[in-house]
Symmetry: C2
């Protein structure tokens, strides 16, 4: 489905009068990045020159998202929503830097009332009310300190997609799968959906490489309709796939629910392309998925993801963020760590995706240890790219583009 | 929800080597129009300089929509999808002009196979297969001639939103409602959702003005969550509202289904902000609405609307297009007329919205007669604006902007 990704990002820097900076971005795969840039520029008049109240970041996000003229281009989906994500995440990066805290900690040290106020509750109350969310958050308060200590000591579990890209030779797949296990990962992921015979061979090979105890997820990147998804997965079941990711359209709540019934006991995972919290709500209401894969930069950044984490906790569905892309590993780790400390209170069956590329461009790249993300300590959201990378890759005048 | 619309459009002209032109646009309400322009420009390399095969307009549309890098910004939603609508509708305007036919007739004279080939069937087959769609279309073939004659004689039924905007005085509301009935309309529509006491008073007044036999639809423009929608409508029931339009988020299939159960016998209508055919499919599967309101320029133009009309016919749900905006009346009439002649074969409980503004800017404006749209006779999709209007309103150098 994504044959020629040219990893790109529409990048935002917020500047304060005091010289502080907040960095955020949304991730694209090439052409169209300029559409997100245009959307960010359309929001600029709502941001530039305004007072940013760090105690009301929810209000800041709602002012952007409720702008009626820009909302018309969604509502709350597509380019304008990705643009809002870039700006809202930049505001949280800034808030973390001003507070001197990584964003996971900034969030996890808020009161339940402050956390609930970050979310936009419109369209959610038939599934979760602010009052019920407050109850959930209050129940988690007593355990925050112990979980923070545990997080700082152990990190947050990860899985790796490195072995599983389409187009790798069988030898390379087997070698990378064995390396992943040696590196401490307990789950890997393979792309599937191009050719069934190939998938059967690759999955057999991966299973042989990792043994029976390592989970192997498979990812179809939205390739199938409902019936083909169920048929294809039936052929892969002998190799015990753990979850099937994005079997069909990310908009198709009822389709995912039908697929989930059809592929059991294989789990269904989706979320990287879910447009907003309203689709997430329905995925949960319809029991359409076993694993929710949030994205840091497709829904409206930290604030909408707070609403989504609360929904997932209320429905008892584990969140395993989508990562990779440009800087998504850096961004999503803050969301999962906040979730562990202050929302769901658990890492059981929860893993953050890990892909080993582009980290060298970030000021505070993710740090992996024995298959876990180490908790970031630097202030901010880890979303700031190095000045040299920004200069070299800036389109169209950076040296990479000129050469 | 839309307090300050500044009616705008991102406008496309396709030129052939022979000097023919196809015109299309997507409608916005002001800021953000430039985001749609950027998205249209992002598609331009896929269009400019290519051969447009008028016998394969479905293939043309799929080439745009399946472009993996631009699809990433949706998929199939938001600014990139609105941009695709503008381009695809321009291609149909061009095809109609080359064929010397209005687009409703161009479509209605296609074979069932040609019509089915216009649609993108991905993600639809759990609800409707191309074979079943072919059956539907073939059943309609014998009646096409009689229905075309009927359409040319009577036109297509309409309803009017003119009396019902928020902010009108009670006197103006009553006067416009009476005028609408005198003009032959059998349905009017009122905006609701700002203030319940006001809505009760306005709906009582409108009911007194039009009498018991004229349908009064009400439109909440996405304002409510599920429970408030049901409560609000309970208070309006004494005045026999015909449908409640957009009670909540256009993404909320399950929410609409719950509201529909809660407000019966009032009907539920939605669609102007539905992102694509996948959401439409689910609305039908979940029995979430009684009336489907297609938009010409939010889903991907004629081709995706053909898929949606086929879905609606298969589920037996009447289509009543959203119109108004900029040129939507001009565009959607072709879709409803095609639906009547070649798809559903019925105008029962079907009405096209009519709003009496901006028609003066179009080369071939809609013509109303006794509450009906007269069938367009001019070649094309009626989407071409007058050259003088395009010049005067072009942003930022047109004379209207300069003054």
């Amino acid at each position: 489905m994504n044959p020629d990704p040219d990893y790109s990002a529409a990048y935002v820097v917020l500047h304060t009068d005091e010289g502080m900076e907040g960095h955020g971005f949304c991730f694209t795969i090439g052409r169209g990045n300029e559409v997100c840039v245009a959307a960010i520029e359309a929001y600029a008049p709502l941001v530039e020159g305004t007072d940013l109240d760090l105690g009301d970041l929810g209000g800041f996000a709602r002012r952007l998202l409720h702008d009626s003229q820009l909302r018309w281009l969604g509502p709350e989906k597509g380019a304008v929503h990705m643009a809002a994500a870039a700006i809202i995440n930049a505001a949280f990066d800034l808030a973390g830097k001003i507070a001197g805290k990584p964003v996971w900690r900034l969030l996890a040290e808020m009161t339940p009332e402050q956390i609930v106020d970050l979310a936009d509750w419109r369209y959610l109350t038939d599934a979760l009310t602010p009052d019920r969310a407050l109850d959930l958050l209050r129940e988690a308060v007593p355990g925050r300190a112990a979980r923070t200590a545990d997080l700082l000591e152990r990190g947050y579990p990860a899985y790796t997609t490195t072995p599983g890209w389409l187009g790798y030779t069988d030898d390379k797949l087997g070698r990378l799968a064995r390396e992943a296990v040696a590196d401490g990962f307990t789950q890997i992921k393979l792309k599937v959906g191009a050719d069934l015979d190939d998938d059967v061979r690759r999955l057999r090979l991966a299973r042989e490489a990792v043994g029976p105890d390592v989970r192997i997820a498979v990812d179809a990147n939205q390739r199938w309709d409902v019936a083909p998804a169920i048929e294809w997965m039936e052929a892969l079941k002998p190799f015990d796939p753990y979850w099937i990711e994005e079997p069909t359209s990310p908009d198709d709540v009822l389709g995912h629910a039908a697929i989930r019934r059809g592929v059991s006991p294989v789990k269904v995972a989706t979320g990287e392309h879910i447009a907003n919290r309203v689709i997430v709500k329905q995925m949960l209401q319809a029991e359409a998925l076993d694993v929710l894969q949030i994205d840091a930069c497709r829904v409206a950044g930290v604030t909408e993801n707070v609403a989504i984490l609360l929904l997932a906790a209320a429905f008892g569905v584990p969140v395993c963020p989508h990562a990779g892309g440009v800087g998504l590993c850096e961004a999503v780790q803050h969301l999962s760590m906040f979730d562990y400390v202050a929302v769901s209170g658990s890492t059981e069956n929860r893993v953050i995706e890990y892909v080993d590329h582009l980290h060298e461009h970030f000021e505070d790249p993710v740090r992996m240890s024995r298959g876990h993300y180490s908790a970031p300590a630097a202030p901010g959201m880890s979303t700031q790219m190095k000045a040299a990378s920004l200069a070299a890759y800036a389109h169209p005048h950076g040296e990479v583009w000129r050469s």
